[in-house]
């Protein structure tokens, strides 16, 4: 128990150090651009926490990011590099919007049906990549990325074509009936009851890693040979894991459609999937770590757009910080590999000696 605490403490310290370093480098860039770093960061903080309205926006961002990152973490534990959360999110949004717009049933049936359709659509979209991997040994990084494009353009086709709002000129569908929308928590703010779903899913994740399925997923990530030896059907588990991972993203797509946008529109995923990957990795694939990282990135995003409006510092500084964190996460993985660590020590040792 003690060592466990110590370990998580160490990991958390590592994550904090990475964020700090990224922020420092970001600050230098702000400085070079002729602005004041402290002022820029202060605007980010006030932009995220300054008012109740800001807080509400913060949590609206945090819901999809957390759900998607948790889904991604399941695939990553199994060493399945699903980077197609955006596509799975989009498919979930499309499926659920179609149910809400075209199916004529009472709301108490439509709502669960739309959730189910989103989960299924996202799950199948990711499951397809899983199936391609088991059947043709197709690398899931490539397939999930390609499926992202397909989903994006499929969505564009729909909102410019068959699903376009007949009353409007914009690339968006007609609006969902009010009775179908996720209820707001407070009348004046956009924050909605989707946050309850996020909390439920976080709790679920703590249990997931204690179920046989969670263990199996984890074992697949330890190696195909040992998994097969242990009696696990590796191919089936790969597909199931990908489907679960995609289902989370699909659910986040439903949440965005029914809780925030109330309609389908072009680019609805707004790149959440990419950030969710960073969040999952920064959070060490651990549910608590993911929640904390997700909170941090929500601050950056909401505060960052505020910073762009209030100061001369562009939003792209947030992208820079995001990119730096990705690099640090990858570097950390390399340095955890003891073989690499020792080799580096050895090489550095030689270098120093020859330098003498």
């Amino acid at each position: 128990m003690k060592t466990k605490l110590l370990n998580s403490g160490k990991k958390a310290a590592g994550a904090v150090a990475m964020i700090a370093l990224a922020l420092i480098i970001g600050a230098v860039l702000v400085l070079i651009s002729g602005n004041k770093p402290m002022e820029a960061y202060a605007t980010i903080i006030s932009g995220a926490f300054g008012s109740k309205l800001r807080l509400s926006e913060l949590f609206i961002k945090m819901i999809p990011l957390t759900i998607m990152a948790l889904g991604i973490s399941i695939a990553y534990k199994a060493q399945l590099w699903n980077i197609g959360a955006d596509g799975q999110f989009t498919m979930g949004a499309i499926a659920s919007a179609a149910i809400g717009i075209y199916v004529e049933l009472p709301p108490f049936l439509i709502v669960p049906l739309s959730i189910l359709s989103a989960i299924l659509a996202g799950g199948l979209w990711a499951g397809l990549a899983g199936w391609l991997k088991t059947k043709f040994n197709a690398n899931e990084v490539i397939t999930t990325l390609m499926l992202n494009y397909i989903a994006t353009y499929f969505l564009a086709f729909l909102v410019y074509g068959p699903m376009m709002d007949p009353q409007g000129e914009l690339a968006q569908s007609e609006v969902l009936k009010e009775s179908l929308r996720i209820p707001l928590l407070f009348s004046n703010y956009r924050i909605h009851a989707g946050i309850v779903i996020m909390i439920l899913i976080i709790l679920l994740m703590f249990f997931f890693w204690k179920t046989p399925l969670g263990y199996k997923t984890d074992l697949i990530g330890q190696g195909e040979k040992v998994s097969t030896y242990a009696g696990i059907n590796v191919k089936r588990t790969i597909i199931i894991t990908m489907m679960i991972s995609g289902a989370f993203a699909g659910l986040a797509g439903w949440n965005e459609t029914y809780g925030v946008q109330y309609r389908l529109l072009e680019g609805i995923s707004s790149g959440y999937g990419d950030i969710a990957v960073v969040i999952a990795l920064l959070g060490e694939l651990n549910p608590l770590g993911i929640v904390i990282s997700s909170f941090f990135f929500s601050i950056l995003m909401v505060g960052g757009s505020c910073m762009q409006r209030m100061t001369n510092v562009p939003y792209s500084i947030v992208d820079v910080i995001k990119g730096l964190i990705i690099i640090f996460v990858i570097a950390r993985t390399a340095f955890r590999n003891t073989a690499i660590k020792y080799t580096m020590k050895e090489w550095i040792g030689r270098r120093k000696n020859y330098a003498k």
């Binding site: 074992l219 020792y342 020859y354």
Partner: protein, 507 residues
């Protein structure tokens, strides 16, 4: 000139409050080969890592060539002329041999690389020590033995006078070992001082000039290796007691035939026939030892890891052919796999989880869809004491354990499933003497409890010791079955004599 190259005095070191080295004395004479002998976990590598500056001792002093030195890092060690070849090599695989040697070194040609010059020097050096190596071949193209040569060459090129070799022969074939020992002798005659970490007694008696024995972090003794030193003496020093190289005769006679393999054909990874009409019956309470090639494919077919082309496997009148691995597990076929690192264990998982690796969805470990930590803890504690597994609390990764302890986890898991059949593939490979003895005893216990055991081993001694009958395979076909007490000569004759009669499988 000082004749003692290295003197370590009262070296003490602890990890997590456990003393792994307790006031060790170590002395290495210049121009000699010094064996550092001990079982896995005795502290050999730790002691040498201190000498190489990877760890710092808590207490004690180190003298190099009679001068007291504080070796705080490998940088310091290298500058003192100490080189170390680890068990895991530190080579950049896409680079060539000479590029690896040059890594981190300043070029003599300014901004241009001095590859050619270095390669020439390297060649001369290699020839001097009778090592064959092409400086321009890429590391990934080399065999493990050749990679080891590169490591040694690198150390020598850097001017190492004292060379530490950590279990160097573990990765070598018997032929390579002979050549390797020649190189070591060459180096010794050249005045280099060599420390050979090992748990193999033969290596000490065949090459070492002196030996220091460690046990449980304590220094047991240091002596010159001459004709009066016997293996038994060394074993006693290393293990602390006599080791049973002979087990008592089995008292329970084998029963009825329980497990039959009938006319099985299978291909190897290259698509060539590996098993040809292979048949074998194993009785209750019986160990059958298998010698010859095709063993790996046989194990995999029997456990569902490989598909067979034809034939039948029958256990208690039940046919089981080309099913999923889980089916064989459920039918009571236990398997100690050849490679415990990639197959037998999930190295990054805790010991506890590895212990229930095959029961991740079975009661009592799972209840209401959740794993039961308390039940698992209880099972772990029982198993840990029964199998004498050295562990703090079972939460440490399997990777952190010695080979013997890792094998005990696998053994415990497979035997506790109360198997009908136990397929043990190289169960004692790489284990030290007492761990191997323990594993063999447990295999015999399983036999006496009624299990049919198929024992596959490259160690003929082991097969002769444990088997009730010995099956000889040649070229994928069963050549014959010998009774207990057969000699190695008979096995050899069977392998050679019937060569011509090998039948072939269709397709």
């Amino acid at each position: 000139m000082e004749t003692i190259a290295v003197k370590m005095e009262k070296i003490t070191k602890s990890f997590n409050d456990v003393k792994v080295l307790d006031s060790i004395e170590f002395k290495l004479k210049r121009g000699s080969i010094h064996g550092l002998l001990g079982e896995n976990g005795a502290g050999k590598t730790t002691l040498m890592n201190i000498l190489y500056g990877l760890y710092n001792q808590e207490d004690g002093e180190i003298f190099i060539n009679g001068k007291k030195e504080n070796i705080s890092s490998p940088v310091k060690a290298i500058s003192l002329g100490i080189g170390m070849v680890h068990q895991h090599f530190m080579l950049a695989r896409p680079f060539s041999v000479v590029e690896n040697v040059m890594l981190g070194r300043k070029s003599r040609r300014g901004i241009l690389l001095d590859t050619k010059q270095t390669a020439e020097e390297l060649k001369t050096l290699a020839e001097k020590y009778k090592m064959e190596i092409d400086p321009y071949s890429k590391i990934w193209q080399l065999s493990v033995g050749e990679q080891q040569r590169v490591e040694i060459l690198t150390a020598m090129y850097q001017g190492a006078e004292i060379l530490i070799l950590d279990e160097p022969t573990a990765v070598l074939t018997p032929q390579e070992v002979d050549a390797f020992f020649e190189t070591l002798k060459e180096m010794r005659d050249d005045g280099k001082s060599i420390i050979l970490i090992t748990h193999k007694l033969e290596e000490i008696t065949s090459i070492a000039d002196e030996v220091t024995v460690l046990r449980d972090g304590k220094m047991i003794g240091r002596r010159a290796v001459d004709s009066t030193v016997t293996k038994d003496d060394l074993t006693r020093m290393m293990v602390g007691r006599d080791v049973l190289f002979d087990f008592p005769k089995n008292t329970i006679e084998p029963g009825e035939v329980k497990y039959s393999i009938k006319n099985v054909c299978a291909k190897n990874d290259k698509g060539l026939p590996a098993l040809k009409e292979f048949s074998l019956d194993i009785r209750e309470n019986e160990v059958i030892g298998v010698d010859g090639n095709g063993q790996k494919e046989l194990c995999e077919v029997l456990t569902g890891l490989r598909k067979s082309d034809s034939g039948e496997i029958i256990l208690n009148d039940k046919k089981m052919v080309n099913k999923e691995p889980v089916y064989y597990i459920e039918q009571g076929v236990s398997h100690i796999p050849e490679d415990r690192h990639t197959t037998g264990l999930a190295l990054n998982w805790s010991l506890k989880r590895n212990l229930i690796l095959k029961e991740l969805n079975k009661a009592p470990f799972v209840k209401n869809g959740l794993l039961q930590p308390k039940v698992i803890d209880k099972y772990w504690n029982e198993t840990k004491s029964e199998y004498q597994i050295k562990s703090i609390n079972g939460e440490e990764k399997a990777r952190a354990l010695s080979g013997g302890n890792q094998q005990k986890i696998i053994l415990a898991r497979e035997i506790n499933l109360n198997p009908q059949v136990l397929i043990a593939n190289q169960p004692t490979r790489g284990l030290d003497v007492s761990a191997a003895e323990y594993v063999r005893k447990k295999v015999l216990d399983a036999r006496n409890a009624g299990t049919s055991v198929l024992l596959i081993s490259a160690d003929l001694e082991e097969i002769l010791q444990l088997s009730d009958r010995i099956a000889v395979i040649f070229d994928g076909k069963l050549m014959g079955i010998l009774p207990r007490g057969a000699s190695t000569h008979e096995i050899g004759a069977l392998m050679m004599g019937k060569k011509q009669e090998v039948a072939s499988c269709e397709n």
